[in-house]
Subunit: 299 residues, 2 copies
């Protein structure tokens, strides 16, 4: 096995996605240096062979390729400023706006990064870990070709374009459907309750036609306990929706187009927060909103 076939990779941030990326890399034979603000989360990956670094700086210094799996771009800047990126190949997977992507690329270039690629992961951590994910990449084609074997550790990858924000644009375009679709699943469950049908039957029909309702629910449920985006003390399922909807609507508004259905979804989301269900499971939030409107009607 040649040394440069399996280069040393740093994974900075060991949340749900960082853990999945690390597990997939380790299984494919990469040497992985990991760092997390709270080191406790690194224990099971250490048992699988990951090298737990005492600092982000140490993880970066020991690696040629740096994967940033941190909550957002602001935290990415803080970590990158302290760790240094001189001569490194940077892969950014955090979620932010297209402007965030452009700014962070400039920041890394100014900091001496040798190569840079935006990679947006379109599936759940479990699919990343099993190598059946879908990744969208934007940046320099030569860097994409170099990184492709590494990205294929996580699943199928697709080069979207040289404009650095292209992967984010494509993710938002698709996410509009995802956001609306999840709202559709929840509305269909509300409709079932109203029409005297077991909500479980809706899930049964959905699973027959190939919609992974359990996956959708568990994805948002899993998100309930992790640290959230800036401005929100804690991420919850409804807040996750709002942040995603705001990013998509903000970007499409700038491009001169409105998305009426997604706007309706966002309006509903803010109602749930008003009812005090910002941190709650989305189905609970729907239930609360229904009770709230019943109270308005009856009282």
């Amino acid at each position: 096995m040649l040394e440069n076939e399996f280069p040393s990779v740093a994974v900075i941030g060991i949340g749900l996605m960082g853990s999945a990326l690390t597990a997939a890399l380790l299984r494919s034979g990469y040497r992985v240096n990991i760092w997390n603000r709270t080191p406790e989360k690194c224990a099971s990956l250490a048992a699988q062979g990951a090298n737990v670094s005492p600092s982000a700086e140490a993880a970066v210094a020991a690696s040629g390729i740096i994967i940033l799996a941190i909550s957002d771009y602001a935290n990415s800047k803080t970590v990158a400023a302290s760790a240094g990126l001189l001569g490194k190949t940077v892969v950014q997977i955090s979620t932010g706006s297209m402007m965030d992507a452009v700014e962070f690329h400039s920041f890394c270039t100014a900091g001496g990064a040798a190569e840079y690629m935006e990679v947006k992961i379109m599936t759940y951590p479990a699919l990343v870990e099993s190598g059946t994910s879908l990744l969208l990449a934007s940046g320099t084609p030569e860097v994409y070709i170099k990184l492709k074997p590494l990205l294929e550790t996580f699943g199928k990858s697709r080069f979207v374009g040289e404009i650095i924000s292209s992967a984010t644009s494509a993710m938002f375009a698709w996410s509009a459907h995802f956001q609306i679709s999840v709202a559709g699943v929840l509305e269909s469950i509300r409709a079932a309750k109203a029409l005297g049908v077991e909500p479980a039957l809706v899930q049964e029909i959905a699973s027959f036609v190939g919609i992974d309702v359990d996956g959708i629910f568990s994805r948002w449920q899993n998100a309930a306990d992790r640290i959230g985006p800036p401005g929100l003390a804690k991420s919850g399922t409804v807040f996750d929706y709002i942040v995603a909807a705001d990013l998509i609507i903000g970007s499409t508004d700038l491009a001169g187009i409105t998305l009426p259905v997604l706007n309706a979804v966002r309006t509903e989301l803010y109602k749930w927060v008003d009812y005090g269900f910002g941190h709650a499971d989305v189905e609970d939030a729907f239930e609360a909103a229904r009770r709230h409107s019943e109270n308005l009607t009856t009282g």
Copy 2:
């Protein structure tokens, strides 16, 4: 092969769904008597072995089980009144409200039908023909058990309940998601155009995660040329949406619940009709709505 193993079945109405039902029955060994208002549509099924009846009355008289695959309940009543249902087992697959289902059941019982079952088909005609559909049934459990082998010719079947409108309720509950989901696909394509991403990429991502975007579009496109529901001269893709959304929203409103996302979808649908795109392909209608709003902005 015993005579009563493969009873003689009438299929009344040879549209897209009636054709698929007949083809599946013929392949499974049933003797099928078909009738359609315009007999030309029966030619290819006749070549496959179907007996083309000169009248609905003749088709019903020659059959023990009568499948009604007519556009709606009003037309079903007209045909049933002229053909007679005395002693027959009636399977109603037309789309209507829950009240339609209750009324038509009473109508058939009063007309002497021996057995009755509401069956709602949750998938495309192509899946019915290949025997991989999903059917929801409501009525008497004994009738369901008797009809199950016949229903399995079309795919998987599920008994929903004894209340005759239950299958319709379950279909509406699920359809709320389907309507919203299709609107979500179209909004994601609009978003892609706004954000400078190839719309084809949205379809590529959708197909990767298991959403059949081509199937969704072709389903509605196929609907554009068939005869529509009462009150509309001709069914088109946007009208199909409106009728479905109206039925779901009407039924859930009666049950005391509103569906905000589906309401937003309906509001959009009516806008498209205002723009003159009621009979058009839904993606064209979205395109027209976008141009319309651009004109409002720039002019």
